[in-house]
């Protein structure tokens, strides 16, 4: 059992399928991103709904993280150059976010009283929020064919 659409395969019509990106390991990536969209989304909803005044900055960032995860999930699952671009942008944004917020949360604990997905580089989530965008960007690069 191999990847049903290997890179460079051709359809019956003869068109080249260059989007290995949305198949095989790409689907696993989509699943993990979907989980984090759910995790970050629920966390942000609870935080904003129940204790927004405690740390508005951190909770708004939680919401932003959730929206970006959701967008990345969709972008990684869909084929097409435009979706690939969105996937690259959202994965990059996440990497930047987890590095920035992770660093801030170490030095300014007052503004980040409890864990957001990105606090301390995603420590509360087994550091997956730190590793995931790296794997995402690696996958996007690996499956990218310049002539696509």
């Amino acid at each position: 059992m191999t990847n049903p659409v290997p890179p460079g395969a051709t359809t019956p019509a003869g068109a080249t399928i260059t989007e290995a990106r949305t198949h095989g390991p790409g689907r696993l990536l989509v699943a993990v991103y979907a989980l984090f969209a759910l995790a970050a989304g629920s966390r942000a909803t609870v935080q904003i709904g129940t204790k927004f005044h405690q740390a508005p900055l951190a909770y708004l960032l939680s919401a932003v993280a959730a929206i970006v995860y959701l967008l990345a999930t969709v972008a990684l699952a869909r084929s097409g150059r435009r979706w690939r671009t969105i996937a690259v942008l959202t994965c990059s944004f996440e990497l930047l976010g987890v590095l920035t917020i992770g660093t801030f949360s170490l030095f300014d604990a007052a503004d980040f009283p409890d864990a957001t997905v990105w606090s301390v580089y995603g420590q509360g989530y087994g550091f997956i929020p730190l590793v995931l965008p790296m794997i995402g960007l690696y996958w996007l690069r690996r499956t990218h064919s310049p002539e696509a």
């Binding site: 095989g24 689907r27 699943a31 989980l35 629920s42 609870v46």
Partner: protein, 120 residues
């Protein structure tokens, strides 16, 4: 919440995770026996949800009740969603989608146990 229920649920999730990793390693597809195991696991997740709602309604307040209930509800969706996503393309990596879903449910149930531990 009973620790026995949580324990059995977590064990069922870990079994599903190991099972799917073995299937992926052997390059084999998801069979009926695994589907039955996943069905039982999902049933345990539903029982956990009912128990959680009943306990909270009875006045027990676990640490962060809202998150506790959110976990119980979210867990119900994860295995069916994972199975659906994994079966819409048959490949090694797709089988591992079930592994991810099962591990997520296991971790969430551990978190629920931790939140519940503040209720005496």
């Amino acid at each position: 919440m009973s620790n026995d229920l949580s324990g059995i649920l977590i064990a069922a999730c870990l079994l599903a995770a190991i099972w799917t990793i073995a299937l992926a390693a052997a390059d084999r597809t998801v069979g009926n026996r695994l589907l039955i195991e996943l069905g039982i696991t999902e049933l345990l997740v539903l029982i956990q949800l009912v128990v959680a709602v009943v306990e909270v309604a009875a006045g027990n307040q676990p640490d962060s009740t809202v998150i506790f209930l959110a976990y119980a509800v979210s867990e119900v969706l994860i295995l069916p969603a994972g199975l659906f996503w994994s079966q819409s393309e048959k490949s090694r990596s797709s089988t591992l989608v079930i592994t991810v879903a099962a591990l997520a449910v296991a971790v969430m149930s551990v978190r629920m146990m931790q939140m519940w531990s503040t209720v005496s």
